[in-house]
């Protein structure tokens, strides 16, 4: 028995005064329920991510109440950036385990409209005092990993930049992406340095976001559903200071999460027709591609430059523009995959609907990893 996704929904991401994370969670949930072709009353499970800007004792309770739902099963989870992919895993476990029959998996946050007084503090909570005392940005922690990658593999700044160029090209097709003007490798390398070797155009956007999918058992799903063929999760560390592997081999726990997901699905990297890869920084994508077995160690940059991830290439990836050009929140990688597979991606629909896809979320500083393998019907 497997789980299946019946439909997906996203909220509008335009910031405005008074816009709350719960508003966007409600909007995404109602859109997902409508897309799934079910009644809201059929939803008896709700799993949500957390908000960085609003305090909720239990976000899933705030959302359920706002929707007028009294679900059998509800959870709020926090797995930092991997949360968007992990809410789908938790919803699948709940419907397969019998805790509920139809679950909404949701993540929304008003990271711009919320104007938190202490967003720096909120983000700094992901680092420990011995890291913070030296004055790093979150970007710096990834930049240290990026510099080690360049030192070890001989890859270049151009290789890193090519990731941002590729996803901006995809965003140019998406009318809902935040930045749509195509950029060149030179544009990326000439944008202000954030923390070397990473430039501003190599860092994720900060936007409002909301996304939701409806998950049920595959035997209750009809022709238009997307099957969750496999999933895997793995965690290697909280602080990068405790995981030297990141610097010596570049291997992250995504090598484990993806293997678990491939094994459960009974497929391998060569069978994939699309990938939605958490792209908080350009380096993240290169390391994850290598962990997924899409190319050899040190060769991800050349693979991107050769068009591997292009809309018209062998493995269209981040077809919405990703965190780098479309919007925040790893939940959009999930909704985008479902939309492409159901043929409902609108302006940026791929010419051929993918039948198999990998969706991946990364949390912390490359610590928490979640891989989903989706299959079309």
């Amino acid at each position: 028995m497997r789980a299946a996704i019946l439909g997906a929904g996203e909220s509008d991401r335009t910031p405005r005064p008074g816009r709350t994370a719960v508003d966007m969670a409600v909007e995404s949930s109602l859109a997902a329920v409508a897309d799934a072709g079910i009644e809201l009353a059929q939803v008896d499970g709700v799993v949500t991510g957390y908000s960085l800007t609003e305090r909720h004792l239990d976000f899933s309770a705030s959302l359920s109440e706002a929707l007028g739902l009294q679900p059998h099963w509800s959870q709020t989870i926090s797995r930092s950036g991997a949360t968007g992919a992990s809410v789908v895993v938790d919803a699948a476990l709940a419907v397969l385990g019998g805790a509920c029959t139809t679950a909404l998996a949701v993540w929304a946050d008003n990271r711009v409209s919320g104007e938190p007084e202490d967003m720096t503090g909120a983000l700094a909570a992901s680092l420990n005092a011995f890291e913070l005392a030296t004055g790093p940005l979150i970007t710096t922690q990834y930049a240290l990993i990026a510099q080690a990658y360049l030192n070890r593999t001989g890859a270049t700044g151009e290789d890193l930049a090519s990731v941002a160029v590729q996803f901006r090209k995809h965003a140019s097709f998406n009318e809902h992406a935040k930045y749509r003007s195509p950029i060149s490798i030179d544009d990326v390398l000439e944008s202000p340095m954030a923390s070397s070797p990473l430039h501003r155009l190599e860092c994720a956007l900060v936007t409002d976001y909301g996304g939701a999918v409806v998950v049920t058992r595959s035997d209750r799903a009809g022709d238009g559903a997307v099957d969750l063929l496999g999933f895997g999760e793995a965690l290697s560390h909280s602080s990068i200071l405790r995981n030297p592997d990141l610097f010596t081999t570049g291997r992250t726990a995504a090598a484990i999460s993806s293997r678990l997901a491939y094994d459960m699905a009974g497929i391998g990297p060569a069978d994939l027709q699309m990938a939605q890869i958490y792209d908080c920084f350009t380096i993240t994508v290169l390391l994850l591609m290598e962990d997924f077995g899409l190319c050899a160690r040190g060769e991800a940059g050349s693979a991107v430059r050769a068009g591997l991830l292009d809309r018209q290439g062998p493995l269209p990836s981040n077809t919405h523009g990703g965190l780098l050009s479309c919007g925040s929140g790893g939940i959009l990688h999930v909704t985008e995959a479902v939309n492409q597979m159901r043929g409902t991606a609108g302006s940026h629909q791929l010419p051929r609907r993918p039948q198999t896809a990998l969706v991946h979320g990364n949390g912390g500083v490359l610590g928490a990893q979640t891989t989903l393998i989706l299959g079309g019907r």
């Binding site: 720096t120 700094a124 420990n128 005092a129 011995f130 890291e131 913070l132 005392a133 030296t134 004055g135 790093p136 940005l137 710096t140 930049a143 240290l144 990993i145 990026a146 510099q147 080690a148 030192n151 070890r152 202000p192 340095m193 954030a194 923390s195 070397s196 070797p197 990473l198 602080s239 990068i240 200071l241 405790r242 030297p244 610097f247």
Partner: protein, 129 residues
């Protein structure tokens, strides 16, 4: 009578403030643990010491920061942060002394640590290749 803080982090900051170049080591298995914790993540013993370390360590990576994460870091921009290896499962994040040129850094090279002031806080800093 002053009470010795039980918190290993507080003890380490205090030792660094007194000029001592040291890290937490487990009394049971000898593992160097950084950042420090109440429990050894390797053998789970709760008995630990602060031990002096060899100031010559191996450079792992570096990044030059061009945007301050908080206002009190802005005056020193741009500054370089380095990672050095201090044990089989432990890295130390440190500032690079601004007199050391970033261009001279090579992955795997030995570098020298000394306690120095970083925005009002004494901590290990890489002072020379």
């Amino acid at each position: 009578m002053a009470t010795e803080p039980l918190d290993p982090s507080a003890q380490l900051w205090q030792a660094w403030a007194s000029g001592r170049l040291c890290l937490q080591a487990c009394r049971a298995c000898g593992e160097i643990q950084h950042p420090p914790g109440q429990v050894c993540s390797h053998c789970h013993a709760t008995d630990w010491d602060l031990v002096d370390i060899n100031p010559v360590v191996t450079l792992v990576s570096w990044s030059t920061v061009h945007r301050a994460p908080a206002p009190h870091f802005a005056d020193a921009l741009p500054y370089t942060i380095v990672l050095v290896s201090v044990g089989p499962r432990a890295l130390l994040e440190a500032r690079l002394d601004s007199r050391v040129p970033v261009e001279s850094l090579v992955s795997g090279m030995p570098v020298r640590l000394a306690i120095d002031d970083v925005v009002g806080r004494a901590m290990p800093t890489v002072v020379a290749p």
